[in-house]
C-alpha cells in the first residue's frame, strides 16, 4: 500500500511541476509578447472587447471577457508554487490551537456523551438478556401471593364461621334459659293453682263424702 501511495504522490508531484512549468512558461511567453508590441496589443484588446460586447449583447456569453483578463495576468510577477515562508509555522500554530479548542468543545464532551450512551445501552441490553430468571422469580412470587391469599381467605372464612357459630350458640343458650325459666315459673304457678284449687275443693269433697256416707248409711 505504502509503495502505491508513494508512487501516486510522486506522480502528483510531477503533475504539479508540469502544471507549474506550463503555466509559468505560457505566462512568460505572453509577457514577452505583450511587452514587444504593447500598442498593438491594446488595439487588439480594444477590438476584442468591442466584439465581446457585441457577442454578449447578442448571445449573452459574458465570459469571453476572459481574454483581457489573461492579458492582465501577464503583467503580474511570476507565480511561486513552492514558496515556503512564515505562513508554515503560523499554520502549524493555528492548527494546534484549533486542536486544543476542538478537543475541549467537541471531541471530549461529545465523546463522553457517546460513551455514556453506549454504557447505558449495554446495561439495558444485559438486563434484558437474563430476564428469564426474572420471569421465573415473578411467576414464583405470583404463585406465592395467590396461595397466601387463598390461605388467608380460608382462615377468614373459618374464623367467621366459628364466630357466627359461637354467637348463635350463645343466643340459643340464653333463649333456652329464658324459656326454661318461664316454663319453670309457669309450672310452679300451675302446681300452686292446683294446690289452691285442691285446698279450695277439700271442704266440698268432705261435705260430699259425708253426704255420700249419710246417704249410704
Amino acid at each position: 500500500m505504502e509503495t502505491a501511495l508513494m508512487r501516486g504522490s510522486s506522480l502528483s508531484v510531477r503533475c504539479v511541476r508540469r502544471y507549474a512549468r506550463s503555466g509559468r512558461s505560457s505566462v512568460r511567453a505572453q509577457a514577452q509578447a505583450t511587452s514587444s508590441n504593447k500598442a498593438a496589443r491594446d488595439g487588439v484588446v480594444e477590438r476584442v472587447r468591442s466584439k465581446v460586447v457585441l457577442a454578449s449583447k447578442t448571445v449573452g456569453v459574458q465570459l469571453m471577457l476572459a481574454l483581457p483578463a489573461l492579458a492582465e495576468e501577464a503583467e503580474k510577477e511570476p507565480g511561486k508554487l513552492f514558496d515556503f515562508d512564515l505562513t508554515l509555522p503560523i499554520m502549524a500554530a493555528q492548527f494546534l490551537v484549533l486542536m486544543v479548542f476542538l478537543d475541549k468543545t467537541w471531541f471530549s464532551p461529545v465523546g463522553k456523551v457517546l460513551d455514556d450512551r453506549d454504557e447505558n445501552l449495554r446495561n439495558i441490553l444485559s438486563g434484558v438478556q437474563d430476564n428469564s430468571g426474572d420471569v421465573q422469580k415473578m411467576e414464583d412470587e405470583a404463585a406465592k401471593v395467590v396461595s397466601d391469599a387463598r390461605t388467608a381467605a380460608a382462615n377468614l372464612i373459618a374464623s367467621e364461621k366459628k364466630a357466627a357459630q359461637d354467637a348463635g350458640d350463645e343466643k340459643l343458650a340464653s333463649l333456652k334459659k329464658k324459656l326454661d325459666a318461664q316454663y319453670e315459673a309457669a309450672s310452679a304457678a300451675l302446681v300452686k293453682e292446683e294446690e289452691g284449687a285442691r285446698k279450695a275443693l277439700e271442704p266440698e269433697i268432705e261435705k260430699l263424702a259425708k253426704q255420700i256416707v249419710e246417704k249410704v248409711a
Binding site: V16, Y19, A66, G79, K80, L98, G111, V113
Partner: protein, 237 residues
Amino acid sequence: MNLATIASLSVGQHLYWRTESVAVHGETLITSWFILGVLGIVSILGNGNLKSIPEGLQNVTEFALEFVRDIAKTQIGEEEHKEWVPFIGTIFLFIFVSNWSGALLPWRVLELPNGELGAPTNDINTTAALALLTSIAYFYAGISKKGISYFKRYVEPAPFLLPINVLEDFTKPLSLCFRLFGNILADELVVGVLLLLVPLLVPVPLMLLGLFTSAIQALVFATLAGAYIGESLEDHH
C-alpha cells in the same frame, strides 16, 4: 464587477503581507481563519447543549466524531486510539472543511490586490505544516511509549534496511504534503482552466469530481496520519 475575474487563472500568485524581514501569504491565512471560524462556530452551536438523545447539529458533530474515532481505532488500535482522536479528528475536519470551502465557495468573487482566495490546502505551507506536525506526532507517540528503544525499529527487520527506514521518515511527510497540495491545486487548476475555456456546464462534472477528491484527500491524510502513529506505537517482536 467583471464576471471574467471569476474565471481568471493565477498560478502560484500570493497576496504577500510583508514586514521588514518576513512575508506571509495573506490569502492562505484569511481563508484559514474562515475555516477556523466555521469549525469553532459549528462546535459551539452543535455541542453547546449536549443531550443524551441528540437533536439538530449534535447529530452532525456526533457523526463526525464517530467517523474520526473509527479511523483512529482501525489505524491505531482499540487500546491506544483514544488520546489520538483529537489530533486525527482535527486533521480530518480542518482538511475536509478547507477543501470543500475551496470547491464550493466562490472565493474568487472577492478580489485581492494579488493572488486569489482559495482553499488553504492549495498553499504548500499549509500542507507542509500538517505533514510536519504528523511527523512530530508519530515520533512523540513512539518515544513516549517506548523511550529510547523506539529507535530499534530502524534496524528491523534487518540492520541493512537502516537507510531505507531512515529515508521513510523523510518520505512520509513529503508524500503527505505533496499529495494533498498536488490534488487540491490540480483540482482548482483544472476547474479554473475549464472555466476559462467553456464557462457553462462543462466544468460541472469536474467540480463534482473535485468535491469527491477533496473529501477523499481529507480521509487519506487522516488515515495515513493514524497509520503512521499506529505504526510507531505497535510492538515489535
